[in-house]
């Protein structure tokens, strides 16, 4: 199956139509996506600031990660799952959206960044986990991580402003413009 067919089959799946058919489900999924992504970012920020020697420096690095990383991973899975649910409702539009594509590439780079960290400073963690800051490789990974996650958030927000889709069901009997007046200069989906 080619990609266009695949995207179309995602959009016509019962999952996607079910979400589109409800006025409430998409906004709720999007809200839960924001809860997840803010948790991913906030917990990564704590770890990255520790690597850089900026905050929590009196605690061993390993104490920080054993407290926090489980929340990061749980939040990441949560955010990815809600992201997939949003994607299938309008797969073709998201797939071709520049900001969506950039976001996916940056997510992959963030994953590679974690992998490289694990293979470099992560391997010698027992030697520096009580130091104020991580070795150069660890500090570099922290800077890259912060830049990547901030850009991922910005790209994500831009997707909402560059994809035109009624996030509510396309019911011919209901004209959404009658339900609420969008502010001037705003068009397309709710942002």
């Amino acid at each position: 199956m080619d990609i266009t067919g695949f995207l179309a089959s995602l959009e016509s799946s019962s999952l996607a139509t079910g979400i589109r058919d409800s006025l409430y489900v998409f906004p709720l999924i999007e809200s839960l996506h924001v809860v997840g992504l803010t948790m991913v970012f906030g917990t990564m920020l704590i770890v990255d600031l520790r690597l850089l020697g900026i905050a929590s420096i009196r605690r061993p690095f390993t104490s920080i990660t054993s407290d926090i990383m489980k929340w990061t991973w749980a939040s990441f899975i949560w955010t990815a799952a809600t992201g997939v649910l949003m994607f299938v409702t309008n797969a073709n539009v998201y797939y071709h959206n520049f900001f969506f594509r950039t976001k996916i590439v940056l997510l992959a780079l963030a994953g590679i960044n974690v992998l490289i960290f694990e293979l470099t400073s992560g391997r010698t963690v027992h030697r520096w986990h009580k130091d104020a800051a991580a070795p150069l490789a660890g500090r570099t990974a922290a800077i890259l991580s912060l830049l990547l996650w901030i850009t991922i958030i910005v790209m994500g927000r831009w997707i909402g402003f560059t994809t035109s889709q009624s996030k509510a069901p396309l019911d011919r009997d209901i004209n959404l413009d009658d339900l609420f007046t969008p502010p001037a200069n705003e068009s397309g989906s709710p942002k």
């Binding site: 924001v34 970012f41 906030g42 905050a55 927000r157 402003f161 200069n185």
Partner: protein, 174 residues
Amino acid sequence: MIRQFAEWLSQTSLSILIQTHNAWVIPTIQSIHIIAIGVVLTSVLMIDLRILGWAGHDQTLRETTDRFGPWLSWALLVLLVTGISMVIGEPVRALLSLSFWLKMFLVAVGTLIAAILQITLKSNEQHWEQTLVNRRSVRSLAILTLLIWVGIVILGRLIAYDYVWGSWSLKPTA
């Protein structure tokens, strides 16, 4: 009255300035707002996990609030500034949304709880460290606080979808 205020605000020069550049100003402000929410949510999480005994065993509660309290305060300030900017930029969208007012109520409650914790902890450190953190009421309050902030994030996103409230929405109907 709110409606008239929102319409007046949308005619002010600052609002018009944001509106004319809204293609990039609004998403930029929203992105900064979301980043600051991340700081607030995880700062509250870490303090509450410490109270619940699920994290930070090697830290006292005071050490935990000393670490995350300032980040919480500064991020709340960033949220206030970016939040006000968004209201000025899109007054009708925000001020005529039920989610917005529910969110503001919860923000007031959440901020009050955080302030009370910081103040009483500083004046009565021993009592907090030895007795209060183990009280069931305090632990319940920690979970409630976390739920309040999660609710704030959800309501914040729902400002864009005020029709979910149906007839409770403050948005004018045609």
